[in-house]
Amino acid sequence: MSGNMNITLKVWRQKNTSDKGRFETYQVPGVSPDMSFLEMFDVLNERLVAEGKEVPIAFDHDCREGICGMCSLFINGRPHGPNDGVTTCQLHMRSFKDGDVIVVEPWRAAAFPVIKDLAVDRSSFDRIMSAGGFISVNTGNAQDANNLPIGKEIADEAFEAATCIGCGACVAACKNSSAMLFVGAKVSQFALLPQGQPERKQRALAMVNQMDAEGFGACTNTGACSAECPKEIPLTVIARLNREYLGAEFCGK
């Protein structure tokens, strides 16, 4: 088809967590500009399966519509590729040019070990969530929503924080592999709303402790996380996380 592109991919291949890993180069001819980045990988993988010489490339994906947070990939030096505010599944090949060489690496962080090829283990995020990223709800009827008046601005701010899909691009982008944007978003969405108040202090402490225990680095406010976040979570959530944590440590029990 006219308008199709020939792409050269340099892909990180790694058999398992303990394998050292290396780059492999693949030519992918006839890529449609309307394909998503992941669809290009599907095409390549089908070919690898048909050829039978190599196992297909492992990469994470699920919804493919930018809402689940499962896809990843560090593309030409940036998480989720060159465009702002989109996940890799929403990145289209029209963002590249015919003849481009694209380097694809997994998220790299001690807390995100590579499982295979481009797929990393992000269960450290799950452990941070189970440490405190929840509210305890007793059973029984839900109370009338109007009993809990919440100002529009607060609701919007909480919602903005809650749009974090837990993809880990913030960690991948950060030179310190810090998870503070993610944790800040999760702490913010609860700290701003009445339902989050009972466990507010405990939550901030538990989530930060778990974050540190997982081996994420310490934030130095470079702002790379927010710039690369597909949901454009602002740095103010990290400032709030600092306040919540320090408040809980200095004023809590």
């Binding site: 030096g77 503070m180 130095t220």
Partner: protein, 258 residues
Amino acid sequence: MNWLIKTLNSSIGQKVIMSLTGLFLCSFLIIHMIGNLQLFHDDYGLAFNKYAAFMTTNPLIKVVSYLLYASILFHAIKGLHLVYKNNQARPVKYAVNNGKANSHWSSRNMGILGTMLLVFIAVHMSDFWYEYKFGDVPHTQYAVSLETGEIMTDTIPAGMKLHNKIEDVIANGKHIYVVKDLYKEVSVGFKEWPLVLLYVLSMFALSFHLYHGFSSAFQSLGINHSKYSGLIRFIGLWFFSIIIPLAFAAMPVYFFIS
């Protein structure tokens, strides 16, 4: 006390330490700059030498200065430790990393900039601070005419007992000061181009360090709000990363060319 140690050792606690010591150093820079502007007075260094004597003898300032040395050390050691630890959080590096697409260069190189400043501080303090306190900086006598305000320098009368204080007497219609002549050390020292170059380059490092550091310190303390963050960034850019380094860099350059 346990909780305090734990808090300060947490990732957020470390930011707070860097932030508070950093802001304290920023406040010192303001004082240091204003004081050093006396170098530009056309008075054979009288104002500057009086200021230097005051800064080294006033008991309150002495206490604050020990706090300052401790802060410099703490900020540097903690900072280097953080660079090391954060480096460990990513054992395998990216082959391609386009950092400039998402963050400012200075924010990614605070460790390097800080190390440059540490080296600078060591050279700077051994050249002037150490010399002034422990070396043999000669004394100079100034005579200021009470009538005309005219300033004259004089050699020290033989046999006069000298110590690190301002001798301040009025005699024969003249105000006589005897002080250690740090001004001379400065004006002679800055005739050497390698030293001037080091100072000017270091002020570039200072500029970039503070461009990120000043506003970052507030973010670390949880202070980030659309109402005042613009002002913090404005002060960080114009005052701390332009005016202060420029004023400091002007001093060696002034003595070099004058």
